[in-house]
Amino acid sequence: MSAFDVGAAYRRWAPYVANIAARLLGSREDVEDVLHDVFMAAVKGLRNLRDPEAIRGWLASVTTRVVSQRLRARGLRRWLGLGSVPEVNRIVAPGASPEEQALLARVYRVLDDVPIKERSAWILRMIEGDDLASVATACGCSLATAKRRITAAQARIDEVLHDD
């Protein structure tokens, strides 16, 4: 893929990647950096892909990997007392009702304490609305593992929300 095509691919797919990144991160913070890292990592693979659905899946998997790295770093910073949990409301559009905003904020607070692999799988399935096969592809795991991760995250959410 030539440099010009890289630019065209970026313009075409950056909004899609930004949306997944924001949902996986749970914040607007770092989205531009994730975008950059995703396209730097994906450029080689994109060269060989033509089908838009294949590109979409490929970018989702790279984005999941890049965001996971960021979340690990964020967790480390929090553990060291150097960072704080971002506010979910910062990426919620005004179209969401107050009830929806409150629900998302509670869920993301729970997800901050869920293992990153489970968190990513759950968000892709429940927030992004991907089917199980797409979740498994994006997470780089088998269908059974994807299901197990989603179930584990869901159990944790149910437990906390039920207690609330």
Binding site: A3, A18, R23, E32, M40, I91, V92, A93, P94, E100
Partner: protein
């Protein structure tokens, strides 16, 4: 699907980053250049590996291998118009990478130390070799970008330009303004005309809430709230804070000394010192009893003397700073700067009298040398 799952999925549709909030042009430029940099690094790595292999082979056969010394590329012929991505090396070692469709002219003499280039069209990135004392300037329409040792990208847009700074710091100037950009900053210049903070000599609108009241923004609700100008200012991102404040409007500045000082800092440190005057003057007119009034007066003096070149007003501001807080650690600084301002205003007699008063009061003062020098005293 459970009820909660349905709710979450519905709510999830509202989550995301609206496309209009993404600076795709800046992101694309950053991506292209980082890909290019990676390619160059890999190529350099391959050359080093090849040289090492050749050296190893030479040792094996017992012959000396003389490494090839890379020859500096010749000074390019200007103007350079690039049909595809192209890098030209200037006589000082700085490099300009032109994207397809870019056209670059050299305005300064080709052998001179100073480099002034004109980007007539397209996008180019400049990796500037550090060299003290020389000027490196890129003209793009009505915009001038001036740097010392940095990397930045300029894209011509209509009569102006978009500037993205990769490393270091640049000064971007246009017909009636200038702004400093640091690494990772970007912007389109000239900026849209708008008053960011309180207009000079104009009272704040009646809608300004009283001190300590929560801030209200008259700006339309964004689909995804960005950090407030205050948060950006606290993080030291004054250029972005200035833009956020411009969007929020002057009514977003509360009429209390803390907010007014912050607004003045945002204007001043984002390269709009003329817009810092009004909030500082407001502190002095309406909050003179506040403990921060002395600092506001001193800051106003600095702005007037160093930025907007109004030495008479600066002298008055420094005098006020001394009067408001005679025991402040800044008092000697204010005194020295008042002397300097009076000299610049052409009032040398008053400057000398003030300097002598300072020296008698602070014979071993930290500003004694500066005061003597400014007032021309031995």
């Amino acid at each position: 699907m459970t009820d909660m799952a349905r709710k979450l999925q519905h709510a999830g549709h509202h989550m995301g980053v609206p496309a209009q909030e993404l600076d795709l042009a800046a992101g694309e430029m950053r991506l292209r250049f980082d890909i290019d940099r990676r390619r160059r690094r890999r190529a350099a790595g391959a050359v080093v590996a090849a040289l090492l292999l050749m050296g190893g082979a030479g040792l094996l056969v017992g012959t000396r291998v003389r490494p090839q010394i890379a020859r500096a590329p010749g000074v390019p012929e200007f103007p350079v118009a690039s049909a595809s991505e192209q890098t030209v090396t200037l006589n000082d070692g700085s490099r300009a990478t032109l994207l397809a469709g870019a056209e670059l002219h050299r305005v300064s003499p080709s052998a001179g130390a100073d480099i002034v280039l004109r980007l007539a069209a397209g996008t180019a990135r400049f990796d500037v070799a550090r060299q003290d004392g020389r000027v490196f300037r890129v003209l793009a329409g009505t915009v001038t970008v001036e740097v010392v040792g940095t990397s930045f990208t300029v894209e011509r847009i209509a009569e102006g330009a978009r500037v993205v700074v990769q490393h270091g710091r640049v000064k971007v100037a246009w017909a009636d303004g200038q702004r400093y950009l640091d690494a990772s900053d970007s912007g389109r210049f000239p900026p849209e005309r708008r008053s960011t903070v309180v207009p000079i000599e104009t009272p704040l609108p009646a809608a300004v809430p009283p001190a300590h009241a929560p801030a209200t923004s008259p700006a339309p609700r964004s689909s995804m709230p960005r950090p407030s100008w205050r948060a950006l200012a606290r993080a030291g991102e004054h250029v972005r804070a200035y833009e956020a404040l411009g969007k929020a409007g002057p009514g977003d500045v509360r009429d209390d000394p803390v907010d007014l000082l912050a607004a003045a800092d945002v204007a001043r440190l984002s390269g709009h010192p003329d817009e810092a005057r009004a909030p500082l003057r407001r502190i002095l007119s309406r909050h003179r009893d506040d403990s921060r009034a002395g600092l506001a007066a001193f800051t106003l003096g600095r702005v007037l003397l160093d930025e907007t070149h109004e030495p008479r007003g600066a002298a008055e501001a420094f005098a006020l700073a001394r009067q408001l807080q005679p025991d402040s650690p800044l008092v000697e600084d204010a005194w020295a700067r008042q002397v300097e301002a009076l000299v610049r205003a052409g009032d040398t007699a008053e400057a000398r009298a003030l300097a002598q008063e300072y020296l008698s009061r602070f014979p071993a003062g930290s500003k004694a040398k500066q005061v003597r020098h400014s007032a021309g005293l031995r």
